[in-house]
Amino acid sequence: MTVEKVLEFSDVVIVYDNFPAVAGATFSVNAGEIVLLQGANGAGKTTLLRACAGLLPIARGSANVLGCDLRLDRLAVRSRVGLLGHANGLFQDLTVLENMLFWSRLVGATRNDVDQAMDAMGLSGRLSETQVAKLSAGQRRRCALASLIVRRAQLWLLDEPHAGLDAQGRDELDRTLRAARDAGATVIFASHEIERASALATRSLVVASGTVKPA
């Protein structure tokens, strides 16, 4: 099997009203990799990840994700990627279980998938009936991860996934990402905890001032 490119960015520029947060990024990711994006605060990691998910317009350059050209159609890629941003994307008034069931209905996952994901993230039992607004910060992050797991995306994009998780949660997360990779998915994640993240990643990229270099 020849190596398949999951993502290919070349000279990509992304602007927020006139400020080029990403200023000419060129890199590519192969299927089955776990890629770490590291870099200083404000380097452009979040911007890159959101762009990969088709959320931001590409001002210049060419960007190709899972075979879709982002400059032509940012929507096509959406149903095949999963994004965990800085925010969790949960409904505060619903319970953990209700949130999970909502997302699972949208993506067509089964109840079994939901139970497994919640188990993995330690959310079964009392917590599953708790409203998200009444969870601790780390528990909310776990819930967001669980709802990402049921999506079974082909490309996982995670923005500082370890932040807020306790030791056991971190281990579980690493296990989950490795399992997803083994099942054929590709993972790109940003992190500031270099040691832990490097151990997980198969390759590191450094984002600096809106450009991407190998570590």
Binding site: P57, R78, G89, Q92, L106, G108, G184
Partner: protein, 234 residues
């Protein structure tokens, strides 16, 4: 990795969104405990401000719909505040699901809440303003409420989505919505007056206005389904 997750139908997404919105309302009881008294207060306050029995009877229909429209502003705002507070709308966008289904689900949930509200407001009008209605008038009234709230649900969801997550949405939303819903206000008021027979309006006149409401609902239903996705998707 094989694509194991099957694509979900539009109606499934719409119903998931619909249930989610109503469940949040059932849990927080914001419409029943807060919007409803607010709308009631508006009606009482006007009655008080106008302070004139004849006028009051004549404008009863208008007051019901004014109260509905002001309630619409706050319900729409709350409905989208729930979705944007933790970027859940972003997650919906990334999930690549059919946003026109989201539009339908949200609109219908919104309309249902408005209908519940209007039922109470109309009952209040019977009590407060001593209006009467015949059986045929009642049919007109019910049709009018359904058409008007459907239209309001569509237009509210569309503009709510447009302003969701932008800076200053609390104020932009009423500004954009007010002129658009003005026709609904007028048409629904006239139809309601016809149903009540206030000022000697004939029932038959009312049906013309209901037709207008239906057209409004249809235009915004179709327009909204088409436009909602592109709007939310910066």
């Amino acid at each position: 990795m094989k694509k194991t997750v099957k694509k979900t139908g539009r109606s499934r997404v719409a119903s998931a969104v619909f249930i989610k919105d109503l469940r949040i309302e059932a849990r927080s009881r914001v419409v029943t405990n807060q919007v409803l008294p607010f709308a009631g207060l508006i009606m009482v306050m006007f009655a008080f401000a106008l302070d004139n029995d004849d006028v009051l009877q004549r404008v009863a229909g208008g007051l019901i719909w004014l109260a509905t429209i002001f309630s619409l502003f706050i319900i729409v705002q709350r409905s989208f505040a729930i979705d944007t507070s933790d970027s859940a709308l972003d997650s919906l966008r990334v999930a690549g699901i059919d946003l026109s289904a989201v539009f339908l689900g949200k609109s219908i949930a919104l309309s249902l809440q408005l209908i519940a509200l209007d039922v109470v407001l109309i009952a209040a009008a019977f009590l407060l303003y001593q209006v009467q209605v015949s059986v045929i008038g009642l049919v007109l009234l019910v049709t009018c409420v359904i058409c008007a709230t459907t239209g309001l649900g569509f237009v509210g969801t569309l503009y709510g989505g447009l302003t969701a997550g932008t800076n200053g949405r609390e104020t932009l939303l009423p500004l954009l919505l007010l002129p658009v819903v003005a026709p609904v206000l007028i048409a629904a008021t006239r139809a309601t007056e016809a149903a009540f027979g206030s000022g000697g309006a004939a029932i038959s006149e009312g049906w013309a206005w209901v037709g207008l409401l239906a057209i409004f609902a249809a235009v915004f239903g179709v327009g909204g389904s088409l436009a909602f996705g592109p709007l939310i998707d910066e």
